[in-house]
Symmetry: C2
Subunit: 209 residues, 2 copies
DNA sequence: TAGATTGTTAATCGATTAACAATC
DNA sequence: TAGATTGTTAATCGATTAACAATC
């Protein structure tokens, strides 16, 4: 397939384009990369290059057919086919993500959570003991694991997920995970985001002194 | 101050260093950039440059004093002084973030949430109606706003936060927010992360065909 | 002293932006 | 046709990595 060498930065912008396109009224039949770029405050060539990875239906002077482009983005991003996932770590964050229904829209289907602590295990709420992880993930052919355990146990959990056949890991712990080749780790580093926020504030406050 | 031109990429790696340093046993008096780099699978020069933004106490042959470096990182990242914040959007994600106690460690103190929907407003749970946002943020001198509303209303909420004196916005909605100069928007784009995960999976699966 | 390590200057790499030809 | 827009090739920019001198 064509999605061989799409850069991570491109990939991360695609959902923004899609979201913007979806927000447009039905009356917008065609849309140009230039218009998208202006709206999202991006460079127009960048948008054009990004879209070229996803679609070939752009026409000079006209732009893209909005509906077609939406369809192509949805397909490319895999929002139309469900990816099953499990969460490891049923603390506050884990349970929150589990309860969050918004991911379905992105094709992510969180089936189960696992936790080490017997006190939080609760079959009713689909929180199972961690010793059952390997068996269940294997049987259900789970390919995505979400890590929401404390930093100290993240690597251990990661190894377990990899052993269980998971191919992609969404890591919410602020650590670097070591994985074999072919396994992807996507870090959702909230601590990193907070560092950026906090640094901005101290700069702003420093300025006004 | 010295933190004038620290790059965002550097800033985002600092919490990883800090976390690793904290995980070390007390017996590790000194630590080298080389050792940190190896552990985190980064380039050693990169780590050295990053640390140079934060500390000047590195000594050839010895490295950094672990405790000193931890202290310097904590101070630089502002984990030692509390930043008060409010959340707008008390849906599942918003309430989850509110309930998540882990942010305190990073100096982020979420005081209140606001929501448009009278049904979720609940003074007991510190969820207030949105019309009180401006007055309260102004009075409490809130500088950080967290947006967890649906994409369609994110810009509106953003404008309101800016009006209320907020200087930094942590945006969980998958949209580009337009803000005046001097206001920082840090996007926590879960949709973008999912795009990367999903793309990896379809590549892997394509390979095995 | 010798060697590990720091910090700096130069080279490389990848992503973004600019310039431009092709075209509906 | 003229002009807006696409897609491509070249230039720029910033971040990462390599090379190296300084030093405890």
């Amino acid at each position: 397939m064509s999605n061989q060498n799409i850069s991570k930065s491109t990939l991360q912008r695609l959902p923004l384009y899609l979201n913007y396109l979806k927000s447009l009224p039905d009356t917008v039949i065609n849309i140009s990369a230039t218009a998208i770029a202006e709206e999202l405050r991006l460079n127009d060539v960048q948008v054009r290059k990004d879209l070229a990875c996803v679609s070939t239906s752009g026409k000079p002077k006209i732009g893209y057919n909005t509906e077609d482009l939406i369809r192509e983005l949805v397909a490319f991003l895999g929002y139309d086919n469900n990816n099953n996932a499990v969460i490891v770590g049923a603390g506050k964050l884990g349970r929150a993500l589990m309860g969050y229904t918004g991911f379905k829209e992105y094709g992510l289907n969180i089936l189960l959570a696992f936790d080490q602590n017997p006190d939080v295990v609760n079959e009713q709420e689909l929180i199972l003991p961690i010793f059952r992880l390997k068996e269940i993930c294997g049987r259900m052919k789970i390919k995505i694991g979400i890590i929401t355990v404390p930093a100290a146990s993240a690597q251990e959990v990661c190894d377990l997920l990899v052993e269980s056949g998971v191919l992609a890991i969404w890591n919410f712990a602020p650590v670097h995970l070591k994985v074999p080749d072919g396994i992807l780790v996507q870090n959702e580093n909230m601590a990193a985001s907070l560092a950026v926020l906090s640094n901005h504030l101290s700069e702003q406050i420093g300025k006004n002194r």
